[in-house]
Subunit: 206 residues, 4 copies
Amino acid sequence: MRMSSQKSSEARRVPQRQRGHERVAALVEAASECFVEKGYEATTMTEVAARAGASIGSLYQFFPTKEVLAQALVEQYSQAVYAELGKLAEQSAKWSTEELAQRLCAFLVTFRKRHPAFVILTESAHAPSVDGLTIRRRVRAELQALLARRAPHRSNDEMHAAAVVVQQIMKAAIAIHTEPGMPGRQAAVTQLQHAMQLYLHDVFGG
Amino acid sequence: MRMSSQKSSEARRVPQRQRGHERVAALVEAASECFVEKGYEATTMTEVAARAGASIGSLYQFFPTKEVLAQALVEQYSQAVYAELGKLAEQSAKWSTEELAQRLCAFLVTFRKRHPAFVILTESAHAPSVDGLTIRRRVRAELQALLARRAPHRSNDEMHAAAVVVQQIMKAAIAIHTEPGMPGRQAAVTQLQHAMQLYLHDVFGG
Amino acid sequence: MRMSSQKSSEARRVPQRQRGHERVAALVEAASECFVEKGYEATTMTEVAARAGASIGSLYQFFPTKEVLAQALVEQYSQAVYAELGKLAEQSAKWSTEELAQRLCAFLVTFRKRHPAFVILTESAHAPSVDGLTIRRRVRAELQALLARRAPHRSNDEMHAAAVVVQQIMKAAIAIHTEPGMPGRQAAVTQLQHAMQLYLHDVFGG
Amino acid sequence: MRMSSQKSSEARRVPQRQRGHERVAALVEAASECFVEKGYEATTMTEVAARAGASIGSLYQFFPTKEVLAQALVEQYSQAVYAELGKLAEQSAKWSTEELAQRLCAFLVTFRKRHPAFVILTESAHAPSVDGLTIRRRVRAELQALLARRAPHRSNDEMHAAAVVVQQIMKAAIAIHTEPGMPGRQAAVTQLQHAMQLYLHDVFGG
DNA sequence: GATGAATGAGCATTCATTCAT
DNA sequence: GATGAATGAATGCTCATTCAT
């Protein structure tokens, strides 16, 4: 007796055997690599399968569409961001503004190192219907909550705007880390942190 | 005897007649629209030609590959950025730090409104071999020069780092302007300007 | 020692247990639905299995190919047609020509309502190698016998030709019943019966 | 200046050069053969192209979809049926009922010999969105008009029903002609004509 | 016997690019 | 120079069938 409706074009099929789980893991890993190296559009399902040591049919067994494949990755990663962001928020209470600025600037950079496909899939404007927007908003909401604890005297609207700014600076940190062959990269990172710190000071104290 | 007839197979052919210039203009315009609407990869040469009211053969007469077409667009636009950025630098001497911050945040946003394809082609990491990197560096250099006039006591390295930060904040402004359906967008923009101002104050005065 | 264990690789395996019979019944039922809804070619083994609540492997346990599956359906139904046609022939002795015409026109229509896959699989010229021809001939033979009782003075050849005509009119009845949204369908059916009656009169009496 | 909107998935592209017309003709011819031999679903675009001596890209240049290809065939043929049916109607006035019956039975059979794909594409229930229904209705309407001239005393509804019956008998003629290896085919055809004649007599005279 | 993962040839379709007219 | 037909490798995806567990 089945319950899940398998529309073949709806959701991914969930592996039910040991072998299946391993396959899916390899597939996801391979897909991640491909997306990072060549972007969503230029990644071919054939190559993903090949890189995972699977047949094309095997790939489609679990991910009925390239889009679903990308969504699965994003889903996986976005859960991780939320979780790690939550942890950051917890610890943030005991940090100085300077340390907070530093941690925030490092956050996405570090995350991207572990899950490189996340940022690529999320930012890519013309990628799939992977809803980067939804994720960005939720991240924003978490940041807003984090900041609000430190500036209880500010309105929600003020905190939202601040969260937007902080989020953009966090993204900027990635860009600086990512740009190939940038001279004085470390100094630039430090300056960005400094800018973040100045802004946070203003938000918390002003 | 023609002057400067470029025969290197990778360069676009320069139109020799009036009619040709109109053609090229229409082609470039059509390409720009397509790239904006669907991104580099998803844009087809056939559609560009069709939208310009030209035949596919005609398009290839002037732009021997899709990549060259994109590069032509970027070339055109990048000249414009440099020029406008130069003008900004000239005028910047008489502005308060606040006004400078505001102008910098508005700069790319305004530019993008006039030339939407520029940012798309430039940012898209996996698009063509359009060298966004070169452009980014030159823009950075211009910003560095602009900032250096106000902070003569700073070293070149310090100014480079500051230019990187400023550039990133300018890009952030685009992102905020571009995100669909963002609530409190105006407040966020204002906050970003504020962050820029705080940072510039520190750079100039500290 | 099993009796009649069919090992020829093209024959379906006969289920040995209670559970197996239920399975097969569900499978056949599901297949019937699929064939009716989407035709032979468009029906996938995977969907048949899913609709029967079975796994694809289970389906192949009993029906080694898609073709065998279709043949099993046709086999099942064709036995039923022969049987029902036999009953019709028995009763036909006591009917007026008018009533006979009416019954004949209704026969396939009624049968199709109970076993919709039969006609689809049988008529579809390019479907499987289901031998619709054989069935058509046997049905024809039964009709010929039925008619011959009423027209003993006619030769076999004459009766064969008449059976062909009657059979075609019976098929026509299905078409009229099946065409979607036909206006005045009832009147058309009545007219077809009338045509059948006129023809039978001629055959029997002329 | 173009006028026709080329939606690439909408309509077929019309050839504009000599070469193009030849290609299209060859393509259509090849498609017709394939559809006849294997039916709509089993026909592959690759084979159509190959049989026409064209590349697959060339085929898609003119027929953006397999469905459009089929529709083009049907369109072409249906215009021909209407025209020939019109001619038949004109001449029918001077025919005896017997001759009319004979001509009607022969009509589709003859047509099918010249355009074998027509019937296949039109009758195939699960083919494309080729609207066999629309064509069938229009043919029916023509038949109704033809019959109405001979039976002015009949109502429209009566004539419609009669047209349905006549059309079905015409289709039956095809079936009899088409069935492989039928013994006594000629006698059967004659009987079908006879049945048609009996029916027409009744309609016209009764 | 049941299950579901694995396979890969095959299909419709796309698109950058070339070339004859 | 312009036009549009030609090309074919490449892509996303399907599905009948096999097989290890």
